[in-house]
Symmetry: C2
């Protein structure tokens, strides 16, 4: 039987299985250390489309179709697709997935979307509402820069704390049965706003949200960092990761040994001119659905906690004097 434990955590009676995943990334991500774990690496970040937004939509569509193919499932076998992205009105998801003909639940969790979709997806499977659910998300460096910061043509200088939005998409298919890693627990985050107003320092805005959710997870479950092989944050980057581990220590949890961050893993930070590392929904999306899923399947990882972190940032609100609220959702994944 499903259980709600502590304040924010759910434990599944019958844990949903991640039966397959897919990931497609852009050119820069294809030059990074995880290149061989992605299903496809683009040679042209516009992918033959006329706009960056259409290219991002295509990323979601092709990643979803690749996952279905790998899982050997027709779209009609999937009861729900849960998806979102960073673009205004989530157009990456809507245009990318409109032809799938699958009941659609749209999410907005900024870069926390991969974990949010897998959280709700797990609850849908665990509640007996579906056999198969698809969780999809994406981001694109060019569409994000254009929307959140400055046009690429402007050629603005990037601050050292700035992160590089990953061009990529991830799709995970959750199922009520089958083989693969299982989602055993879900800890849903609260909105946390520590007053950060720097549009070029998302790591600092998001780290406190990650700390809030991960400490809640440990309090709710009674687990300790050592119970996990890996505590994987989505896109805190170099700056945010340091804040995260330091604040966790202040809360009494030493996660230095177990913690890794997708934003630090996807690029060769020192060589690829990405400043504080990767970010974007597609960062956690592609790294989890590529490299991490592989590591689970081949037995190198057994028990992991995945925390996708989202800066709920709207530049107009920040320019009007507001700070940046953030959120982080965590899921425990176990490979038997």
């Amino acid at each position: 039987m499903n259980q709600h434990i502590g304040n924010q955590t759910v434990v599944f009676g019958t844990p949903p299985v991640i039966i397959n995943t897919a990931s497609i990334v852009g050119t820069k991500e294809g030059e990074g250390p995880l290149a061989r774990f992605f299903d496809e690496v683009l040679t042209d970040d516009k992918w033959g489309e006329k706009t960056w937004e259409k290219a991002e939509s295509k990323l979601q569509r092709e990643t979803a179709l690749t996952a279905l193919k790998k899982a050997d499932l027709p779209p009609s076998a999937v009861e729900y697709v849960l998806a979102g992205d960073l673009l205004n009105q989530c157009v990456g998801a809507h245009y990318g997935l409109r032809d799938l003909d699958i009941p659609f639940l749209g999410l907005y969790g900024a870069c926390s979307t991969m974990a949010e979709s897998m959280s709700i997806g797990s609850m849908i499977i665990g509640g007996g509402y579906a056999n198969n659910v698809m969780c999809v998300t994406s981001s694109h460096f060019c569409s994000s820069e254009k929307q959140f910061r400055t046009p690429l043509e402007y050629g603005g200088q990037r601050s050292p704390s700035a992160q590089w939005t990953v061009t990529g998409a991830g799709c995970a298919i959750l199922s009520s049965q089958g083989a693969g890693p299982k989602i055993t627990r879900v800890t849903t985050g609260k909105i946390v706003d520590m007053g950060v107003t720097d549009l070029t320092n998302m790591g600092a805005a998001m780290a406190p949200a990650a700390v809030d959710t991960v400490t809640a997870h440990f309090k709710d479950t009674g687990l300790r960092p050592i119970d996990y092989d890996l505590i994987l944050t989505g896109d805190l980057g170099v700056v945010g990761s340091d804040i995260f581990t330091e604040l966790m220590l202040a809360e009494g949890y030493d996660v230095l040994e177990e913690h890794k961050d997708c934003g630090k893993m996807i690029y060769n930070i020192d060589e690829q001119d990405v400043h504080a590392g990767g970010s974007g929904c597609g960062c956690c999306g592609s790294v989890f659905c590529g490299y991490i899923y592989d590591e689970l399947i081949n037995g190198h990882l057994k028990d992991i906690l995945v925390i996708a972190t989202g800066a709920l940032m709207n530049p107009q609100m920040v320019n009007a004097g507001e700070s940046i609220p953030s959120i982080a959702h965590a899921i425990s994944i176990t490979m038997d």
Copy 2:
């Protein structure tokens, strides 16, 4: 036990109860025929805030707090809040609800958000994951016009098919127990895009999505229109409602008798200069959480189908030659 029936519908083993609702609307909505059913009518649509966006955030916050007060629940008794709105990055929800300290799941379903949040909220309650869930949404005429169309100061002429975005918010609290109308079934919509590209005719874009979901609902359940006292669409308005009833008839379902539309109900269409009627997340949100909930509680309505419809419209995509994808989600509500 929960069941997935047909292609898109879920039937709850133990139907979640809508234990209370709240709604707050703007000045124009307070001059409409449903004024007395709202908990509060603003006298100033900026509500003392510096921007329309901050006013919309305040709408979500105050509506959520009003609902909690009416239900006599502290925020700590609510396990999840599900919310979203029309603004880029859903800032109405994020800024409005950030201080609630409740685990947050952000949604983007455009004007379908009230039904989407109640759908997922019901699944969360029905899955045994929570005792209480809050579903919140809002829209604001001024923030919407500014973001989706032209600045108010521009004073552009409105086309006859244009709808008036409702300034208002709705909040429904779902619970695993207690008295009130019950959510018995949920039919989740697919993205439907019939090629409409007119930014001033959302009704035409959304009507086919409503038809798709409602016919799926009837096919999945074996029910007929006559099984409902009311088939309530969210914001098809005058133009979209006509298309909806006509297309439903072509599908073999005569809903003329049972169909009403929140966008036609909230204003005196002929007198309030709202052209094709109301729209926006807050349209279905405030009408359902105000007037309709009252009618259920006092026994005037017994079995209803609520279909909130969303135009997943992004003006930049439409200006780049794309059409407007739409979606509609339906929930069956029964008052014993």
